[in-house]
Homo-oligomer: 434 residues x 2
């Protein structure tokens, strides 16, 4: 609280000193949160969700100011839509905080335990990471949902919105903070960095003595800037260049269903399909039907020469792919298509062009499935299902804070457990080392 | 292999290009290693251990050159001892590689698995990290032992010795490479960076598209330099400012045993004891005996005023502590001593001055033990045993690659499991997302 007040007083201190005060307040809060009772955390979350609904008018007023400024700055409709709040979206935010409260508390779980020959009992016990810095862009709901996940997992959250979402984030987290007070938890458990100054982010990213993890969520340029300038460990939630390989034994109806669902259901997200690889032996049977379905849904097919020939013979429209269309995240109704000689060529393509996010195969051949599962590296390897399932909710983790494409610490959807680490606890009765 | 040849050809390419070639060769090797059969890996390790013994003369000759150069550069005796190899140390290295071969293979382990309502089977499967960069100083055994741990866990290792250990490391890893060939594994699974140029390290640390993890092992300045300049994720093996809190109920004989073992058995290591905290109520009973034992073992006691008074009354020699003696890693026969009013003060002291490495309590009080276990954050929290047990071998993890003081990914001793990550594998029969 002291840190936040200091940070909000622009006449005082330099920007790095203000950011350090925020991080110190977070660190102190984290120490208390680390062993807060589950009931106190859940009470705080539920009270926070109620306060967000009770403070709805003020939050929406702040959001209107953010929207007006963003509109004046010339932001487009899609951007404004991500920024906008309304009563329904606030109800969704409150519901997602309630859902986090209902999840089991990961802290204190003994994940392993064994006894040593000298009688020592060794346990590995789940503990919070400490202080988590969330750097995001326009979506104000990230503030409240990330704060809820952090508090439930015993971490203090520092929330760093894009400047367009600053007023909305401050208003949301102020309401959430009423909940923290109701649960007897420190207000600095969830702080919004109260300045639009871009340098604030980089000042925070120097504080590796106080901040344990930085999670950037947003476009590639944000993620790159954070990763390049951070001394704090970063878990990147990077782009998804997701492939579907249709093996020689793939069924036509399933190929159509998976391609459509992967590409069309929600093309703007990271687990959407960006490239179709088709086994040469099955391409004449599969590609016309799959291509027709995709084209019928308004998808542009950017094809290698073989795929283009097969499609054009079947009367399906495609265009020649440029070299840069492979390995590209379109996030749009566009897909790259390539015919490959075999499974090895498909896996070589994925190793070269994939982004470690989500890779899938459709096959009825046991050996193909086994090899794809074993040999493909990605946060999710999917056999005979849509790439769209690489999502914390769909995989059953509960709420997620994002999908990590960094192999270290967490790979794939990050739920509550991924906001924790484990310490060793050793219980003895006076043992010394020989 | 191609990468290594290019890197060793000084007439060709810039330093960054040569480092990229090494990292690309490692990445390609890692892809093959990631699903290499356990038997092939174990065969490679055992053959590598044999080759190190068979090539003993050449390795020792290279080591003599390293030693001569280090001696000429004015390095002290302790440094030269860390650098030196002899037949017995080579036998130890070979034995430790054999021991890694005998450990269970972590790769492919399904650590969790559940079925979703829509029939999808979700599994979390252990996979290698990919490419691991080990940056170390004088000890050439690190090269062979880190290479063995990496290969067993399916990772490719890039080994970056201090310039004084370069010839020894090259000779050791050349012999180890004969083993890789015998197991049918790629030579680039273990590469030594073949140049003493300091910039090579920083060039490698830029390659976050090719290298998955950097582990610096050495003094604080090395670790700081790596952490500050790396884009590759770093797991730090930083210093250990380890405390022992003697609670009001501590037994005198156990207090003496734990203090002596922690401080005297091997004072130069990171899990050695650096600071003794003593409960006020027990200080008159405990401190004279503990102080006498430590002083008798040649330990200098740097004390706060209360401790100094108690010790001098008992005729035990101490000196006043300077403020900077608290939070200091002496790595020597020196210990800081402080009397604290209660458990909370002890935990406050540890939160302020500890380095997250190893923290211990000696108590017979259940509530003190429980609170210390729950409220103290450190890679190992030890109740009624010596801090010296925070070690992979002692805790039963098998060989360790170091002790992480970074909370992310691995906290505490890093064994084979900590050189892996987990991917999600999703098995369906055509499911699409609604």
């Amino acid at each position: 609280m002291r840190g936040l007040e200091r940070a909000m007083s622009p006449t005082q201190d330099t920007l790095p000193a203000r950011m350090r005060a925020i991080a110190e307040a977070a660190r102190d809060a984290a120490r208390r949160l680390s062993h807060a009772p589950t009931a106190a955390k859940d009470q705080a979350l539920r009270a926070g969700a109620r306060a967000i609904l009770a403070r709805q008018d003020g939050i929406l007023a702040a959001n209107r100011e953010d929207l007006a400024a963003a509109r004046a700055a010339g932001q487009g409709a899609a951007y404004l839509d991500r920024l906008a709040l309304d009563p329904r979206r606030l109800a969704d935010i409150a519901a997602s905080i309630e859902a986090v409260a209902a999840l089991p508390d990961p802290i204190g779980e003994v994940t392993d335990s064994w006894r040593r020959p000298n009688g020592l009992l060794v346990k590995r016990v789940r503990i919070p990471l400490g202080v988590v810095l969330m750097v995001y862009e326009a979506r104000p709901n990230v503030a409240a949902e990330a704060a809820a996940l952090c508090v439930k997992s015993g971490n203090a959250a520092i929330l760093r919105p894009g400047s367009d979402a600053l007023r909305s984030s401050l208003a949301l987290v102020a309401a959430f903070g009423e909940g923290l007070a109701a649960g007897g938890l420190p207000a600095a458990a969830a702080q919004v960095v109260p300045t639009p100054d871009r340098e604030a982010t980089f000042a925070l990213l120097q504080l590796d003595d106080l901040i344990d993890l930085a999670i950037p969520r947003g476009g590639p340029s944000l993620i790159k800037a954070v990763a390049e300038r951070s001394r704090v460990p970063v878990v990147k939630h990077y782009m998804g260049v997701c492939h579907l390989f249709l093996d020689a034994t793939a069924r036509v109806d399933q190929a159509v269903a998976l391609a459509l669902n992967g590409k069309v259901q929600r093309p703007g997200v990271c687990n959407a399909l960006e490239c179709l690889l088709v086994h040469r032996d099955a391409a004449p049977a599969l590609l016309p039907a799959v291509g027709q379905a995709l084209a019928g849904a308004g998808v542009e097919l950017r094809c290698d020469p073989t795929a283009l020939t097969i499609l054009s013979r079947a009367g399906v429209k495609g265009v020649p792919a440029a070299p840069e269309d492979f390995g590209r995240e379109f996030l749009d109704l566009v897909i790259a298509v390539r015919v490959v000689p075999d499974l090895d060529a498909a896996m070589d393509h994925i190793a070269r062009f994939g982004s470690l996010h989500t890779e899938s195969i459709l096959t009825r051949d046991l050996e193909s499935a086994r090899r794809f599962e074993r040999e493909v590296t990605a946060s999710a390897v999917i056999i005979n299902a849509s790439t769209r399932f690489n999502d914390g909710g769909e995989l059953g983790l509960g709420a997620e804070i994002g999908i990590s494409t960094t192999k270290l610490h967490a790979f794939g959807p990050m739920g509550l457990n991924e906001l924790t680490t484990r310490k060793f606890v050793v219980e003895g009765d006076g043992q010394t080392r020989a």
